[in-house]
Amino acid sequence: MVPRDRPALRSIPIPKDRRYQPRRVGYSALKRFTARELLSYSLLFFALAALLVTIYSLLPWLIKQVPAFAVGGELSGWGQVVYGVLAAMLGFTVVAVAALILILMLRKYLALVQNRYGPLHYGPAGAFQTVADAIKLLVKEDFTPGKADRLIFTLAPLMVFVSALLLLTVIPFAPGWVLADTSVGLIIIIAAGTIGAYGVLLAGWSSENKFGLLGGLRATAQLISYEIPLALSLLTVAVWVGSLNLSAIVEAQRLWWTALPLFISLLVYLIASLAEIKMVPFDLPEAESELVAGFNTEYSGMRFGFFFVAEFGELFLLPAIAVTLFFGGYHQPLAGWWDFADVLRGWGGFGEFLANLYGLFWFLLKTALLSWLIMWLRATLPRFRDDQLMELCWKALIPLSLVGLVVAVVLRLVFK
């Protein structure tokens, strides 16, 4: 209601020495946040993730191009060493970048549904916020509480992170693009999850903090309990397909996804993986309003960063496993009828590469959709209580996963 000839209240000038002086650079860019922006940035990140995964998957081939490391089409002794070092580094990068992207996307998505902007100031529409956060975590003081068990306190975050990293090695991103194409891929997935439970327990225990201990115990109970339905639902896939090799499982889903016959197992897997990620509604181990920060109460700096990256890396990896096992992996939907990848493969050597990229695209798309589902749940739900969590696991999920197993056996006997 202020008339035009009079400046509005907002323009009251304040002397400079008394004024709070904000950064006024790039204000026009700040205002541009919309849902469309979110989408376009997610596409960019999508490309970045695809690039990283491509390099990661092409690593053996790249190393073989160096004559010293290749012997008759296979890696030489030194080649193996170089490959091992580079693969570990690249794997770390892939998980870290995936985590950074997912953290940013989660924050942006939560901001979108909560009528706010979210990170906005670093990079276009806040795109580099997580990078800045990562740098901040890296340069923070490496602090250990006085009473903590130093060795375990230091090693625990690494165990959690390595468990996430191990999952990465067995996932086929495209035909042939898999680091360890072992015949026991499913077993490795189960084993890796168990290591993470140890890491969380030791983190809570070694930090000599009551909240940390409570959080660690809660996490252990939760993770170990949910290993069972998780493993059982993974087992149904093995029963149905008849292989523990993930590539073989993906190849078996060219036409029909496993999700259709093994619907029950899929449901169990999704709920159990939510619990494994320790995300709402199963975030009891680090329930902020109850246990301050749970098992990572005493952690700061990059040690906390490892937990954080591992959690969000799992937000990428567990949906990735779900996609691999239940949603046809890198295949486009109904690839058994007509597959664009086959068309691409017809073009020869480079077409093969393009076909793999095409598979990677579908893989990442399905994974992103599943991750988004988890984020959506996180935006909606409060958290369960610890005993309800256990009841859900032991009274609902485990019987349900056994039912799923029986269904898988019966279906296999009938249809194959």
């Binding site: 939560l110 549904v113 909560q114 009528n115 706010r116 009551k210 909240f211 409570l214 709402v280 509604p281 975030d283 009891l284 329930a287 902020e288 309003s289 109850e290 301050v292 935006a379 909606t380 739900l381 409060p382 958290r383 369960f384 209580r385 610890d386 005993d387 309800q388």
Partner: protein, 374 residues
């Protein structure tokens, strides 16, 4: 401070003492509760308050009646306007100041608006306690709209200093009733969303149904008031039982629920949203559009007069005991804050519950530490 007896172990329990607070995300301020925990089971709870103590009552001894009012806003800073009313009522009754009808309606409408503001803060922080962040931001989004109305009317958002003896301090702006109507219409539209995210949500129900049941006899004996008492099935509401301002002319029913658990308290507050909306509508309809906003009267209270006057604030019975020695200010004014009295039920409700439930119960009590410690 713990007494030695409190440190003695409970026989048969492997107990760990945990300090819940004073700096803890779920204590809504600086409440400290020493919890004995056996596994996840709470074996004892000893609350410690006073971290925010400012001794308003001593300050008020050296202030005049008018100067006391700004201090009252600081007690329950979530619904600041409500704190001023019992003091104004007590002084008006002692000094015999008449309040014009229009001022009564203005007061009542703002009082109910503050109830909405307060319950919005509660719903947000309670969901935050239970692990959901989204309703918190929705609640604060809508609270801003209500606070804007308060600011346009009184000049302050949370600490308005608006009620005074004989009415209100300054006239409302001409668009006040229209603003109220607009807000109430909007808010009634959003309320189902809150209910879908809170009282109707299955996970919320799993966390709250049957948790922290407060028996009505215990509630009455402990002097518990407000939504906590009404959720236990006791129909005690000072708006109806000892009406003040415009409430005698408004048409409403006291809401009660019989369950007495955390869910009942939450549901009751959601129902009170609707009730407040309805009351504001009635105020808008019935309030005279012209007339004085401040009654005439001489602010002189004889020596030896005393009065205990209470109103039904958003957390319960908010009262003031006023004793006058004939001077220009209160000789002694004791504030009976609902949070302080409701918090006494804490050990009774906590012991035997799980650690997660403790948070749910504490949140459902809806305490404001500024009011507890005064």
């Amino acid at each position: 401070m713990l007494r030695p007896t409190e440190l003695a172990p409970v026989p048969g329990a492997q107990e760990m003492l945990v300090n819940l607070g004073p700096q803890h995300p779920a204590t809504h301020g600086v409440l400290k509760v020493v919890l004995g925990i056996d596994g996840e089971r709470v074996t004892r709870a000893v609350p410690h308050i006073g971290f925010l103590h400012r001794n308003h009552e001593k300050i008020e001894e050296s202030r005049t009646y008018h100067q006391v009012i700004p201090y009252l806003d600081r007690m329950d800073y979530v619904s600041g306007l409500q704190n001023e009313l019992p003091f104004c009522l007590a002084v008006e009754e002692l000094a015999g100041i008449e309040v014009p009808e229009r001022a009564k309606y203005i007061r009542t409408a703002l009082f109910e608006l503050n109830r909405i503001i307060s319950h919005l803060v509660w719903i947000g922080t309670y969901m935050l306690d239970l692990g959901a962040i989204t309703p918190f931001l929705y609640a604060f989004r809508d609270r801003e709209l209500a606070l804007d109305i308060v600011e346009r009317t009184t000049g302050g958002r949370m600490l308005p200093n608006y009620y005074t003896f004989g009415g209100v301090r300054r006239d409302i702006n001409p668009r006040f009733w229209q603003e109220l109507t607009d807000f109430v219409d909007y808010f009634e539209g959003v309320l189902p969303e809150y209910e879908a995210l809170t009282v109707d949500a299955p996970v919320f129900q799993a966390r709250t149904v049957g948790i922290g049941v407060l028996p009505p006899e215990l509630a009455v004996n402990h002097g518990i008031s407000g939504p906590m008492l009404r959720a236990s099935g006791v129909a005690h509401d000072l708006r109806k039982d000892q009406p003040y301002d415009a409430y005698p002319w408004l048409d409403f029913e006291v809401i009660t629920r019989s369950e007495g658990d955390c869910w009942a308290r939450s549901k009751l507050r959601c129902q009170e949203f609707y009730q407040s909306i309805e009351l504001i509508r009635q105020c808008v309809k019935k309030a005279p559009r012209t007339g004085p906003y401040l009654g005439k009267g001489r602010l002189k209270i004889e020596a030896g007069r005393q009065r205990y006057r209470a109103v039904e604030a958003s957390r319960g019975q908010l009262g003031v005991y006023l004793y006058s020695d004939g001077g220009p200010g209160p000789y002694r004014s004791k504030h009976r804050s609902p949070s302080f009295t409701n918090l006494q039920a804490l050990p009774d409700l906590f012991v035997g519950q799980r650690f997660s439930d403790v948070i749910a119960i504490l949140g459902s009590m809806d305490i404001v530490l500024g009011e507890v410690d005064r």
